[in-house]
């Protein structure tokens, strides 16, 4: 991945979370506090703005900056988590611009280290794990195919959170009542990978 593609990805995510802000917020209102859409829109808009005045010629630098901006602007649970994800991904790419699969894995690890969620806890991890796995599996077929596979896996992972009872984040406070709603963070993870696939 090069700097231009990384910028395009961040811009595409920003457009997507803006377009889906109401949907994300509604999902979060059902089992959380109704701010996920606003949080991500604020964060990715800030990332796009930060990148506009940021001279960087590598995807690693672009995505690290994106992560740092998310940490500084989002707050809540998703800010540090997505921020750490992009920071870890960026750092990996700074070392090796072609190690996108490894970068995604590093991002996932950072999310799990910070948030301590396991698959099945009804969080963004439920979309992130299958997406990272699918990307790695399809990586030999090239970026476009791998991104498409990851997007599909993330969407499936997000959809699969619906019946689950949450064990992490605000939704866990609802106990059994959290079942029957799709997790907002898993849903935004699916949007992030859909944006990646859209670049191909």
């Amino acid at each position: 991945m090069d700097a231009a593609l990384a910028r395009a990805w961040v811009a595409a995510v920003a457009a997507s979370v803006t377009a889906h802000a109401a949907e994300l917020t509604d999902l979060d209102a059902a089992i959380g506090d109704g701010d996920h859409g606003v949080n991500l829109r604020r964060g990715f808009d800030a990332a796009v703005a930060a990148l506009a005045s940021f001279e960087a010629d590598s995807a690693g630098a672009v995505l690290t900056k994106t992560g740092t901006t998310l940490v500084s602007k989002v707050g809540g649970a998703s800010g540090p988590l997505y921020g750490s994800f992009f920071r870890a991904l960026g750092k990996t790419l700074s070392d090796d611009p072609d190690a996108f699969a490894d970068g995604l894995r590093a991002g996932l690890d950072a999310v799990v280290r910070l948030g301590k969620a396991e698959p099945g806890d009804k969080t963004m991890v439920d979309a992130l794990v299958p997406a990272v796995d699918a990307y790695a599996a399809a990586a030999p077929s090239g970026f476009a195919a791998a991104a498409t596979a990851a997007a599909g896996a993330a969407a499936d992972g997000a959809a699969a959170t619906t019946p689950l009872q949450a064990r992490k984040g605000r939704a866990s406070y609802l106990g059994e009542r959290s079942a029957g709603h799709q997790d907002p963070g898993a849903t935004s993870t699916a949007l992030i990978f859909a944006a990646l696939a859209g670049l191909g």
């Binding site: 209102a29 109704g34 606003v38 949080n39 809540g76 540090p80 064990r167 866990s172």
Partner: protein, 329 residues
């Protein structure tokens, strides 16, 4: 949605500007988005920083001042502050004796304060507040939420820090107050965040949410609306079950409005609750009735009970001078 706002995205910032205008005795930094005691940092004094999402006013900004917090960092509405804010606040109050972070136990708050503490240039003790017994503390949840007890923790830790106690002691008393406290809340209606523009959930005219938090989320169960007497029992029971009190125990009681409930009704509830506690042999040493830890315009109330000893009562009674809580000064 009907609110006194200009733009949902600017509410927090504009409210901060309002606080700055209304409270010249505070230092409000609109860029860092923090509220700081005018005389901070005080050399040798442990600094106390708290913060969390906005929408709970007067918590936390209304509790900045002598005898309570040294700084507050308000996040967006119902969204924890970001590490930059927390760091700025930590720096602003660092008098060389270390800083206590009082953190309500929400995933977002915990992570953001954690990131800030990692980068802090001073010694930081993080104190988690998790008093809401509506949520069980098992591994099946993110743990109990921090709600009404936050006020007690901030007041009592603030008093001890004001006396010049060292970092470990201030953190210890804060943790002690939290451990001695239990809270439980009921909502009659949902609140409306400016961003969402509509109530967080719909409730029929004869139903209530029981075991709610302070972020507009639905509670543990939906139940029928009942008379105040029965609601008081519904709320006292889990609190006493979680923190059993021996007859003769002395407690501080906070009957807290969630924002949309008239004070008159809070006093009706206090009447019922005080009877129930008396029947359990518990003595109310001090009490507070009002809107302190709110959830925007949610109609509802929470009960916090904290078992105290003479030393905690002394610290509770110590002078405090903030916008939202003031006595003896």
């Amino acid at each position: 949605m009907k609110k006194f706002i200009n733009d949902p995205d600017n509410v927090v910032r504009e409210a901060l500007a309002g606080m700055a205008a209304a409270h010249p005795e505070l230092r409000v930094d609109l860029d860092e988005q923090i509220i700081v005691r005018a005389d901070a940092p005080r050399p040798g004094k442990v600094g106390i920083v708290s913060g969390g999402g906005s929408g709970h006013e007067p918590l936390h900004g209304g509790f900045v001042g002598p005898g309570m917090l040294d700084a507050a960092c308000p996040g967006e509405i119902f969204t924890s502050p970001v590490p930059d804010q927390i760091l700025a606040a930590t720096r602003a109050v660092d008098g060389g004796a270390g800083v206590v972070h009082i953190v309500k136990n929400y995933t977002g708050d915990v992570m953001n304060f954690e990131l800030a503490a990692e980068d802090a240039e001073t010694e930081v003790e993080s104190v988690l507040v998790d008093d809401d017994v509506a949520v069980d503390g098992s591994t099946w949840t993110a743990g109990r939420r921090g709600t009404g007890a936050t006020l007690l923790v901030e007041k009592i830790a603030g008093a001890l820090a004001e006396e010049g106690a060292p970092l470990a002691a201030v953190a210890a008393v804060a943790r002690d107050v939290n451990a001695r406290s239990a809270s439980f809340a009921i909502a009659l209606t949902a609140g409306t965040t400016p961003a969402a523009g509509k109530p967080g959930f719909d409730l029929p005219e004869d139903e209530i949410e029981v075991g709610v938090g302070i972020h507009g989320e639905p509670g543990r169960a939906r139940e029928k609306l009942r008379p105040a007497r029965e609601l008081a029992a519904r709320i006292v029971e889990p609190v006493l079950a979680a923190k059993p009190l021996e007859p003769g125990s002395e407690v501080i009681v906070l009957v807290n409005g969630l924002g949309g409930t008239p004070l008159l009704e809070l006093y009706v509830m206090f009447d019922e609750i005080s009877r129930l506690l008396a029947a359990a042999g518990v003595r109310i040493a001090r009490s507070l009735v009002g809107n302190y830890v709110t959830s925007l315009d949610m109609a509802g109330m929470s009960l916090t009970v904290c078992r105290v000893d003479d030393e905690l009562l002394r610290l509770w009674d110590a002078p405090v001078r903030t916008a939202g809580l003031r006595w003896g000064a």
